[in-house]
Structures are given as structure tokens and as C-alpha cells.
């Protein structure tokens, strides 16, 4: 089961990013969950959709965005188990990014058919 801890846990991996990259702002985010998906909403003023990158490395989701005035945004999140990243969708409107992260159907219980031997 997903807990809040899984979603917002931060580790030293996050600190390491500030060394290899340009300084970046951490965008304000809202995170919601229902039975079908996680919903991540981030404030990214002045960012256009071609300047947003979402990268998944293991269970670490990193959001990067850059603006024309050289300001960067960056933030990482640990995804809980059972997120189907392939089916995720992102939508940017008026400087607000919404990312839908659907829960995978594989994570839901399945019935196994027993064949007669």
C-alpha cells in the first residue's frame, strides 16, 4: 500500500543533484491520490511544454523544467510501488503542470485459474 512516506521521502541522492547541476528552484507541488491514480500538480510559471522533462530512474521520478530567463526548476519524488509510468500523462496550462500517474493493474489482485491435471 502506498503511504505518504513513499511519495515525499527524500534522500542524499537529492542533495547530490545540486552538485552536478545548475542551481534550481524547487517548485511548489500538491499531491493527491484516488483508487486509480496519483496526481501531482506543480507550479511552473513561465515554463512552456517543450521545456519540461520527466525522468524515471528506478522509483525516483525527477521533474526538470527550464525557463527562457535561465531559471531552472527541479524536484524529485519517490514513487510508490505499482505506478504504471508508461501510462502517465502530463498537461501544462497557465504555468501549472498536472501529472497523472496511474496505478498499475498488475498491482491489483488477480484470480489464478487452476487447470485440471
Amino acid at each position: 500500500m502506498a503511504t505518504d512516506k513513499n511519495l515525499v521521502k527524500k534522500t542524499n541522492a537529492h542533495l547530490a543533484q545540486t552538485i552536478d547541476d545548475r542551481p534550481a528552484l524547487s517548485p511548489a507541488v500538491d499531491i493527491y491520490e484516488n483508487q486509480d491514480e496519483y496526481l501531482l500538480i506543480a507550479d511552473l510559471p513561465a515554463v512552456t511544454s517543450d521545456n519540461v522533462k520527466l525522468h524515471l530512474d528506478g522509483e525516483l521520478l525527477t521533474l526538470r523544467a527550464s525557463r527562457a530567463d535561465e531559471v531552472d526548476y527541479r524536484r524529485s519524488f519517490y514513487l510508490p510501488d505499482g505506478v504504471d509510468f508508461q501510462r502517465s500523462r502530463a498537461d501544462l496550462k497557465d504555468g501549472v503542470l498536472s501529472i497523472s500517474l496511474p496505478k498499475s493493474t498488475a498491482a491489483k489482485p488477480r484470480r489464478i485459474q487452476v487447470r485440471a491435471g
Binding site: D4, K9, V29, E33, N34, Y38, A42, V96
Partner: protein
């Protein structure tokens, strides 16, 4: 190298972690209170003011110039998501009003405001007396 942003980020992170350890599952209000972020740029002939207001509709904005003061008012309301539980809410939902003393006199009839990608840009023409003037040098 001293790095303002990463130091600040680290402080925020430490704070974040502390809050998390103490934490109720919903964390609110850890952002700076002076929202939105406003920049005033003097471009010689004119002033350029930008306000970062992601998610604010033009209809919810009110801009006013009174003498040397520019005031931007507006509100941003959180969309209520039915059937969702909340893990984290950092994005402010608020009414805001910010006033700025303009660094020079402007022509109130020649002000343009545009809203795009969550950024409000206000271009203000300086009053003729406030514009920079080139001084010619006479041969002595």
C-alpha cells in the same frame, strides 16, 4: 563555491525532513508568504514588471496605478478534487495584493499588461521627464 540556492535548498530540505518526521500526513504552508514573486526591471525608456502567478485567470486579476504605486490584486483558488485524498498541498490558495513603489514616474495611459504561461507582464512607459536623455558634448 558559495551557492545561495543550494544552501537555501538544503535548509528547506532539512526543514522539510523535520516536518516530515514530526508530521501529520498533510503538510501545508511551508512556502514563503510573499506570493506572488514579483520582479521590477528598469529598461531605460520603460519599466517591466513581472509577477509569477501560475493558475490565476485574467478575470481574477486587478491592476491599479495610483501615483507612483502599482498594485496587483488577485486570487487563486484550489480546484477541489472529488474523491481524492491529499498527500501534500504546498501550492498556495489565496487572495493576494501586492503594492510596489515604482522607481520612476510613468505615463498611466500607456500601460500594457499581458498574461501568458502563468506570468503577468506589465510594461509601463516612463513619463517624458523620467526618460533617460543623452547629453551632447560641445567642443571646448
Amino acid at each position: 563555491m558559495f551557492n545561495y540556492f543550494s544552501d537555501f535548498d538544503r535548509t528547506l530540505q532539512a526543514f522539510d525532513e523535520l516536518l516530515h518526521r514530526l508530521g501529520p500526513p498533510v503538510v501545508r504552508g511551508e512556502r514563503p508568504t510573499s506570493w506572488p514573486r514579483i520582479t521590477v526591471h528598469d529598461a531605460g525608456e520603460r519599466l517591466a514588471v513581472t509577477a509569477e502567478i501560475p493558475g490565476v485567470a485574467a478575470a481574477d486579476l486587478d491592476i491599479e496605478i495610483d501615483k507612483g504605486t502599482l498594485t496587483v490584486r488577485g486570487k487563486r483558488e484550489r480546484t477541489v478534487l472529488e474523491g481524492y485524498s491529499v498527500h501534500r498541498q504546498e501550492r498556495p490558495s489565496l487572495s493576494f495584493s501586492r503594492s510596489i513603489a515604482l522607481p520612476s514616474e510613468v505615463d498611466p495611459d500607456r500601460v500594457k499588461a499581458t498574461l501568458k504561461d502563468g506570468v503577468l507582464r506589465i510594461a509601463l512607459d516612463k513619463a517624458p521627464t523620467a526618460k533617460p536623455r543623452r547629453i551632447a558634448i560641445k567642443n571646448g
